[in-house]
């Protein structure tokens, strides 16, 4: 099984990007879980995923717990909440300290990232988490998102609302929901922007049409919220939940750095009859989603400028896999 990549395909007419498309060679791994005993799924999932391992593991455990109907109260443990929170912080820091400086041609901040990663991996308990959170908040006070002069040229997709696991059940429909999810029949954006659109600085940027900048601002708001949550875990307790949504069927929702992650499992006895995973990348890189919508109509004087605009927008939408950009003539 290969990891796969997102192919971001632009059509350029010498003045602007006239169209964009997304093709994915990433395998839909959840389908391969069909037929496995649930105990094997629990063994398999944390080994199957790399970057979002804790979020995927927690979603699998909670959805299976709900499907088996052994407990009426299905809530994440403090250890799960802490692991998911630290993982999200690590992924935000990766983007901010490794990817954005590289994209902007700025000096590497790899050394800073290594330091934060070491601190993050050293968090052993609630006390350590609170100290880490306080340190991160102090650091964030002196940080600001990179600035881009970038304005929307077309109507953006809607922002995905925050729903509980139980509420998600009625939105799961069609055979291709996992690969091409829609909300109320339309593509939608998930991630930090959807979570923090009400933040005053973020909403001001949105109102001004600076959606990419708003996304970056929202990422800082998310990081601050996560850091505060380490000191006061009840603030972040809404990041994971699960529900039994039908007989032998469980659904779990986890808020990750990239957005909402959903696992839905149907059991037949002790085996998996159906397993669906809806990852944030499938929302943001939907064939009619945020990336495609926002690329179309962007001015670009050169091929390189078109490709750079695509890389910038893609990074702001934070795919969980490697991506490659191609530019074709119109």
């Amino acid at each position: 099984m290969e990891q796969g990549v997102l192919q971001l395909e632009l059509t350029w007419d010498g003045r602007q990007i006239v169209a964009a498309g997304v093709a994915s060679t990433r395998p839909m791994a959840a389908r391969a879980l069909r037929g496995l005993p649930f105990a094997r799924v629990l063994e398999f999932v944390p080994r199957l995923f790399g970057l979002c391992r804790h979020a995927q593991d927690s979603a699998a455990r909670l959805s299976l717990l709900a499907a088996r109907g052994q407990r009426s109260d299905i809530s994440a443990t403090p250890a799960q909440t802490l692991a998911v929170t630290l993982e999200a912080i690590g992924e935000h820091l990766w983007r901010l300290l490794l990817d954005w400086p590289q994209l902007r041609g700025e000096p590497s901040r790899q050394g800073e990232f290594l330091l934060w990663r070491k601190r993050l991996l050293g968090v052993a308990d609630g006390l350590g988490a609170a100290a880490f959170g306080a340190r991160l908040l102090a650091w964030l006070d002196a940080e600001a998102p990179p600035c881009f002069d970038d304005r929307l040229r077309s109507a953006p997709v809607a922002l995905l609302p925050r729903l509980s696991a139980a509420e998600w059940e009625s939105h799961f429909h069609g055979d291709h929901f996992s690969e091409r999810p829609t909300f109320a029949g339309q593509p939608a954006e998930t991630g930090a922007l959807a979570r923090h659109a009400d933040d005053p600085a973020v909403s001001a940027l949105l109102a001004d049409g600076q959606r990419l900048q708003a996304r970056l601002q929202a990422r800082y708001a998310d990081l601050r919220g996560l850091a505060r949550g380490l000191a006061e875990p009840e603030q972040w307790s809404t990041c994971l939940d699960a529900a039994a949504v039908a007989e032998r069927c469980g659904l779990a929702r986890v808020e990750t750095a990239r957005g909402t992650l959903l696992h839905r499992v149907e059991l037949d006895g002790d085996r998996v009859a159906r397993y669906a995973i809806v990852a944030p990348t499938e929302w943001n890189f939907h064939p009619q989603g945020a990336f495609v919508r926002e690329m179309a109509g962007r001015p670009a004087r050169t091929r390189a400028e078109a490709a750079l605009a695509a890389r910038r927008l893609a990074l702001s939408l934070d795919p969980c896999a490697a991506f490659a950009v191609t530019v074709d003539d119109a």
Binding site: E2, M28, R34, L48, G50, E179, A279
Partner: protein, 82 residues
């Protein structure tokens, strides 16, 4: 979602770089995020960085789990991907 496929280090290069084997294809990656990696070790890779070093037993177990999915399951998994 990113898959955590164990990749074997086949050559150490200078400046925290290494060559890995991905299904028979060589690829250069950064070792900046992991320590004490040797040729023959397995690592989990994400966008050009080794994320974690796996102990040999863990790597073999993960590879066996991936293999367990089987060709039929993988064909189904890759069918219909947009």
């Amino acid at each position: 979602m990113c898959l955590a496929l164990p990749c074997r280090i086949v050559e150490l290069r200078g400046a925290d770089q290494a060559l890995i084997d991905v299904a028979g294809v060589g690829k250069e990656i950064s070792l900046a995020l992991v320590e004490d990696v040797a040729v023959g070790d397995y690592v989990i890779v994400h966008v050009g960085y080794a994320l974690t070093r796996l102990d040999p037993e863990g790597a073999e177990k993960t590879l066996a789990l991936f293999a367990e999915l089987g060709a039929a399951a993988l064909q189904e998994a890759t069918r219909g991907v947009a």
